[in-house]
C-alpha cells in the first residue's frame, strides 16, 4: 500500500495512491487517513462501483439487490425518506417498481378502477392472485360506498364487479348482508373521518401485500423481522440465559455466561435433626418450607438480601413428613406424615389450624385446590379424595394404586389431578369430564414435578433418567436428562430459572445437577452436600436462588458466583466467602 509518509517524490506517489485508493474502494474498504482532498473529490463524484457483487456477506447467501431493498424499506419506515431516496439512487436498486408505487398511491387515494387496471399491468402475477387482489380492492370500494350512503352504487359494485369474479362465494354472501344492515363507522368530525378511512385503506394495502409475491411488494418491516429472528435464536440457544436484565444488543452475539446460574453455596441451613426430604418455596418466593425425617416442617423466611432464617418450626406429626403443599395464597401450608394424618398450619403464626384424619387409614400425600377451599389427599387405601377445609369428604376416586410415597398435584385450573398410579404410570384425571390420561413409562417412576404453566411434567425414573413430558392434549415425551445418580433413594427434580428454562435435580452422589431444559445439556454438578441430595427447589420469584435438601440434615441455598451487584449491606456479605453455620454469624440458636 502506498504511504503518505514518503514526501520525496510527491507527484508520482500521489498518482499511485489514487489508483490504490480506487482499488481499495472497489473492494469495499473505506478510506482511512488518506489525502483529504482526494477523498473529498471521490465522494463528490459518487461513482457507481464497478464489479458489484451479486452476493454479499461471507456465507454467500445474501443477494445484494434484496439486501439493499430491505435496507431502503427500513430507512423509509424509520422516517428517513431522504436517505431512502438517496440509497435507491446510489445503489441503482429501487425499492418498488414504479408500477407498484402507482398501485400503492391509487389504493391510498381511493382510485379503485385505476388501481384495478394497474394491478393487471403488473406482470408476473397469476390469474388467481389478480382476482383475489381485485376482490379485496372492490370490497373496500363497496364498503366505502355503503359508508357514504350510496347504497345503490354499492349494490351495483357488488353485482357487476365483485360477484362476477366468481371467487369466494362465502364472502360474497357475508358482505351482501351489509346492503341491508350497513356497518357505519362513527364519525365524530370530518378529520376523524379521513383518518379512519386512511387507516382502513392502509389496512387494505397490508392485505394486498400479503397476497402479492414478496419480490413484487416487500412485506412490511422485513429487516426488523430478520433481526428479531436472529436475536430470538441467539437467546434460545443461550444455555445460561437466566437473567431478565441481560438486554440483547446488536453489537455482539448474545451469550450469557455460566455466572448466571446459581453455582455457589450462599448458605447452609442447619435446623433439622435428621434427613431433609422435601422442599418447596411458597408461590411468592418469600418463604421456603422444608420437611424432614425428624417429623418436623420448618418454614424459612427469605429476607431482602436473599438470606434465609427460621420463621417457624412446625411439630406435631408422629411420623416423618413426606409431603407438603403451600396454599395458593401462601397463607397456609398442608403437611402430610407418612401414612399418618394431614395437618393444616397458618404460615405466618405457625399455629396448627386443623388435623385431618381418616379412621383406619393414613394419608400419603396432599395438595391444595386452586380455590384454596379444598384439598386433594392421597390415602393409603389406593384412593384419592377431595376434602373441604372442615374435614368433610366431597369426592373420592378409587381404584388407583397410590404408592407408599406418592406425588399428587392439582393443576392451576382445578380441573385435573395428577398422581402416580401403578409403578410406572402417572394418571392425569380430569375431574369434571371424568377423562383419564396416562403417562406410561418403561421404568418405575419415583417422583414427578409440574411446571408452573402446567404444560409439562418432569418425571424421575428408577433408571436414573429424568423425562420431560408435554401434557397438553396428547401426552408426549419431549426430552430426557441424564447424568445424576439414583439407585435406591427417592430423588426429586424441579423446573426453575427464568421462564423455567432449567431443570435441577438431586442425586445420590451428593451433588445438585442442573441441565439446560431446551438442549438437555448438563450445565452444572454442584458439590457441597455430604449426603444424598433428596430434593431441590428453585425460587419462583428469584431465578438465581436454588435450594437443596440432603440426608446430611442440611439445606443449602445456592446463588450466583459474583454477588458484588446484589449485596449492599452488612460487612459480612462480601464476595468469595462461603457461608456455613449461619448461627455463628448471627448468634441465633436452633432447637
Amino acid at each position: 500500500m502506498g504511504g503518505v509518509e514518503d514526501e520525496t517524490e510527491p507527484s508520482r506517489k500521489r498518482i499511485r495512491l489514487s489508483h490504490e485508493v480506487l482499488r481499495d474502494l472497489a473492494n469495499g474498504l473505506s478510506i482511512v487517513g488518506s489525502n483529504p482532498d482526494f477523498s473529498g473529490d471521490l465522494m463528490a463524484r459518487s461513482l457507481p462501483i464497478k464489479g458489484d457483487e451479486e452476493i454479499v456477506g461471507s456465507k454467500g447467501v445474501i443477494k445484494r439487490v434484496e439486501f439493499v431493498r430491505i435496507i431502503t424499506q427500513a430507512l423509509y419506515s424509520l422516517g428517513y425518506e431522504n436517505s431512502g431516496a438517496r440509497l435507491q439512487e446510489e445503489s441503482g436498486v429501487s425499492l418498488q417498481s414504479s408500477v407498484v408505487n402507482l398501485l400503492i398511491q391509487q389504493v391510498l387515494n381511493g382510485k379503485w378502477n385505476e388501481s384495478l387496471a394497474t394491478l393487471k399491468s403488473i406482470g408476473l402475477l397469476d390469474e388467481s392472485i389478480i382476482k383475489s387482489a381485485s376482490f379485496l380492492i372492490l370490497e373496500q370500494k363497496y364498503f366505502e360506498l355503503l359508508d357514504d350512503d350510496k347504497v345503490m352504487d354499492a349494490l351495483k359494485t357488488l353485482r357487476m364487479e365483485i360477484t362476477p369474479l366468481s371467487i369466494n362465494n362465502a364472502r360474497v354472501r357475508e358482505i351482501s348482508w351489509s346492503i341491508l344492515f350497513p356497518v357505519k363507522f362513527v364519525h365524530v368530525d370530518s378529520s376523524n373521518f379521513s383518518t379512519t378511512r386512511a387507516k382502513s385503506r392502509a389496512k387494505l394495502l397490508a392485505e394486498l401485500q400479503k397476497l402479492l409475491p414478496p419480490h413484487v411488494m416487500i412485506p412490511d418491516r422485513r429487516l426488523e423481522h430478520l433481526v428479531e429472528q436472529a436475536l430470538i435464536l441467539q437467546r434460545d440457544t443461550c444455555m445460561f440465559h437466566n437473567s431478565e436484565d441481560n438486554v440483547m444488543s446488536l453489537y455482539k452475539d448474545h451469550q450469557c455466561g455460566r455466572d448466571q446460574i446459581p453455582s455457589r453455596t450462599l448458605q447452609v441451613l442447619e435446623a433439622h435433626n435428621d434427613e431433609v426430604w422435601f422442599l418447596q418455596f411458597s408461590h411468592d418466593g418469600k418463604c421456603l418450607a422444608s420437611a424432614s425425617n425428624d417429623r418436623t416442617t420448618i418454614i424459612w423466611e427469605v429476607d431482602s438480601h436473599g438470606d434465609l432464617s427460621v420463621k417457624h418450626k412446625l411439630s406435631g406429626h408422629q411420623k416423618p413428613v413426606s409431603s407438603m403443599s403451600w396454599s395458593p395464597d401462601d397463607s397456609q401450608i398442608l403437611t402430610c406424615g407418612v401414612e399418618e394424618n394431614v395437618r393444616r398450619w397458618d404460615a405466618s403464626s405457625g399455629e396448627c389450624l386443623h388435623v385431618y384424619e381418616k379412621a383406619g387409614y393414613g394419608f400419603v400425600s396432599c395438595a391444595w385446590f386452586p380455590d384454596g377451599k379444598s384439598m386433594c389427599l392421597g390415602v393409603n387405601d389406593k384412593s384419592i379424595c377431595m376434602w373441604d377445609l372442615e374435614g368433610k369428604e366431597l369426592q373420592c376416586w378409587k381404584g388407583q394404586r397410590i404408592l407408599k410415597i406418592s406425588d399428587l398435584q392439582v393443576m392451576n385450573d382445578g380441573k385435573q389431578i395428577i398422581s402416580t398410579c401403578r409403578e410406572s404410570s402417572i394418571l392425569l384425571l380430569d375431574v369434571e369430564a371424568k377423562v383419564e390420561r396416562l403417562i406410561e413409562e418403561d421404568q418405575a417412576i419415583t417422583s414427578f414435578s409440574l411446571s408452573r404453566d402446567n404444560r409439562f411434567l418432569l418425571v424421575n425414573l428408577l433408571n436414573q433418567e429424568i423425562h420431560l413430558w408435554n401434557i397438553e392434549g396428547e401426552v408426549k415425551l419431549v426430552a430426557k436428562y441424564k447424568g445424576h445418580k439414583r439407585t435406591c433413594f427417592l430423588i426429586r427434580s424441579c423446573f426453575g430459572g427464568l421462564e423455567e428454562a432449567f431443570i435441577a435435580s438431586g442425586s445420590e452422589d451428593s451433588q445438585v445437577y442442573i441441565w439446560h431444559r431446551g438442549s438437555g445439556e448438563l450445565i452444572q454438578a454442584l458439590p457441597g452436600h455430604s449426603g444424598v441430595v433428596n430434593c431441590v427447589a428453585w425460587n419462583p420469584a428469584n431465578s438465581h436462588m436454588l435450594a437443596s435438601a440432603s440426608d446430611d440434615h442440611t439445606i443449602r441455598i445456592w446463588g450466583l458466583n459474583d454477588l458484588k451487584m446484589k449485596h449492599k449491606g452488612p460487612a459480612n456479605h462480601c464476595n468469595g466467602v462461603h457461608y456455613c453455620n449461619r448461627k455463628t454469624d448471627r448468634g441465633e440458636t436452633w432447637l
Binding site: 345503490m152 354472501r173 351482501s176 346492503i179 344492515f181
Partner: protein, 215 residues
C-alpha cells in the same frame, strides 16, 4: 318378507271410517267440486261453511304457489287477523316469496327497498339471520338462478311455503294440519321402521307406497 295379506282380513273397517279418510283428504287439498259430489253420493254431512272456507283456502294456496305472496298475505289476514302474527316463521317465508319474486323479475331496487322495510325487522331475531343472509346474497348475483341459493327461486320452495300456509289455516279453523291419509301412510312407514330395528335389518323392507299399490 312382507306381512301376510291374510292378516288383513282380521281388521274390521266401517264404510264411515273410510269415507271420512277420503273426505279429509279432499277437504285438505281443496277439491271443492269433488267434495260436493262425494258428499251427495255417500250422504256424509259437511260442517257449516266448509265449502266456502275451502274455496278461500284454495285461492290463498294458488296465490302462494304463483309467488303472489302479497295477495296471499292479504287474504290470510282477512281470514284471521293474528294468524301470521302467531306464525312468524310462516310470515317470514311469505314475505320472502314476494322478495324472491322481485329478484327474479330483476327488480333490484324494489327488492332492496322491500327487504329494508319488511324483512329487516326479522334480522334482529337470531333464528332468521341465516335465512335472511341467504336471501340478501341473492341480490349480489345478476343471474340469481346460477347462484348457490338458486333453490330459493324454485317451485319447490313456493310449494313448501304454500303448504305451510295451508296447514296453518287448517289448524286455525280447528281442523287437522295433516289429512288422515297422510298420517296413516306416515304411521305405517314409522311402524315398519321400528319393527325393522327390533327384529334386525332384513326382517321387513321399508314401507314403499308405490310397491304397496302395485302388490
Amino acid at each position: 318378507m312382507d306381512a301376510d295379506p291374510r292378516h288383513y282380513e282380521h281388521v274390521l273397517l266401517g264404510n264411515d271410517e273410510i269415507h271420512s279418510v277420503v273426505l279429509s283428504y279432499l277437504v285438505h287439498n281443496c277439491f271443492g267440486e269433488t267434495v260436493e259430489s262425494f258428499t251427495s253420493c255417500t250422504g256424509l254431512k259437511l260442517p257449516a261453511n266448509c265449502l266456502e272456507d275451502m274455496e278461500k283456502r284454495k285461492r290463498i294456496f294458488h296465490f302462494a304457489i304463483e309467488g303472489k305472496a302479497l295477495k296471499a298475505i292479504e287474504m290470510t289476514e282477512e281470514l284471521s287477523r293474528d294468524l301470521l302474527e302467531k306464525n312468524t316463521d310462516l310470515h317470514f317465508e311469505l314475505l320472502s316469496l314476494h322478495y324472491v319474486d322481485l329478484v327474479s323479475s330483476r327488480k333490484c331496487t324494489e327488492a332492496l327497498e322491500f327487504a329494508q322495510s319488511k324483512l329487516a325487522p326479522f334480522g334482529k331475531v337470531e333464528k332468521y339471520v341465516k335465512k335472511l343472509e341467504d336471501f340478501m346474497a341473492l341480490l349480489a348475483y345478476e343471474e340469481p338462478e346460477k347462484s348457490p341459493m338458486f333453490h330459493l327461486l324454485s317451485l319447490e320452495y313456493r310449494q313448501h311455503v304454500a303448504d305451510s300456509l295451508n296447514r296453518a289455516i287448517l289448524v286455525h279453523v280447528n281442523l287437522s294440519s295433516h289429512s288422515a291419509m297422510e298420517r296413516l301412510i306416515q304411521q305405517t312407514a314409522v311402524v315398519r321402521q321400528c319393527l325393522n330395528q327390533e327384529q334386525g335389518k332384513d326382517a321387513l323392507s321399508s314401507f314403499s307406497l308405490q310397491d304397496f299399490l302395485k302388490s
